[in-house]
Symmetry: C2
Subunit: 150 residues, 2 copies
DNA sequence: CACGTATTAGTTGTGTGCGATTTAATCGTG
DNA sequence: CACGATTAAATCGCACACAACTAATACGTG
């Protein structure tokens, strides 16, 4: 920090004072960094996040997937259709509750997990934070998310 | 932090270990928080960011605006057309370099600044960070952005 | 068990984001 | 000054994101 820097942070309309812009820019920059890696897997970034959830817990409902990713069904439905068209998962109506759709990985969906294993390391490396900074950043981001949500 | 928490952070494929997801979720949550406030101004969130830049520096080129926001012309061109259609700015070809387009606020565009004045306080309030946390978060996010941008 | 309410996915419409390409204008080097 | 390289915007195609709405199913209470 330059010692003589003014502190107009509160209520300023200057772009560079705004935490919200730092957040928005960082999010897009990180996604851009993922893009070439995920291209090789045939995934977009949101599709990759869906696959993370499914590798963790197969046969999840669209509803629970949306809760995990904080995404609406209007976002997930077309995305899941693309993953199904690409042969990574199947969508099946639950027999016990036909309102619900279970997402089940195909063989190809499971196999992709091995190829994805390198991705988090590569990204973590690119971010270049110390473990302490990484933990701190996650804590702050979760605090912001929690405070801002309702 | 729970003291006994394992540290599988490096190389984990668990969604909740990933800084990238915390970032993505926080960015969307903050944007969602802005939405009702910006609705009253007739702006979307990216449009609001454009207006922040223009209030700071009028008569900027599309190129420099893109550099400030880290957005491509393919994103900005349609967005700027909407702002022009809503009467907030005009786009004029530069006389000294006809490749370039200068963005100039209209009277209405300037007037909107007063109504937008409350927005940063309201958002800062909702985020609920201490000034120290706010500064720290901005530093970490800028570090990530810089590291990740080749 | 009938019927109003709630829940779950999906559809539609609008607005980003970005890669690839296009068009027009300017620059640089011989 | 000629002409290939570069630059600035815009266009196109695709994939999110989300609000508003719809359709189908399940639930709960009288």
């Amino acid at each position: 920090m330059s010692p003589a820097a003014a502190e107009p942070s509160e209520g300023s309309l200057l772009l560079d004072d705004q935490l919200c812009f730092a957040l928005y820019a960082a999010s897009r920059a990180v996604t851009a960094r993922y893009r070439p890696l995920l291209d090789e897997l045939g995934l977009t970034y949101p599709q990759y996040l869906v696959m993370l959830v499914l590798w963790e817990q197969d046969s999840i409902s669209v509803r629970d997937l949306g809760a995990a990713l904080q995404l609406e069904s209007s976002t997930l439905s077309p995305l899941l259709k693309r993953l199904e068209a690409n042969g990574l998962l199947r969508r099946e109506r639950r027999v016990d509750d036909e309102r619900s759709v279970a997402l089940r990985l195909t063989e190809g969906g499971h196999r992709l997990r091995e190829r994805a294993g390198q991705v988090p390391l590569a990204i973590g490396d690119a971010m270049g934070l110390t473990p302490e900074q990484d933990t701190l950043a996650k804590q702050l981001l979760r605090l912001i998310t929690a405070n801002v949500t309702d």
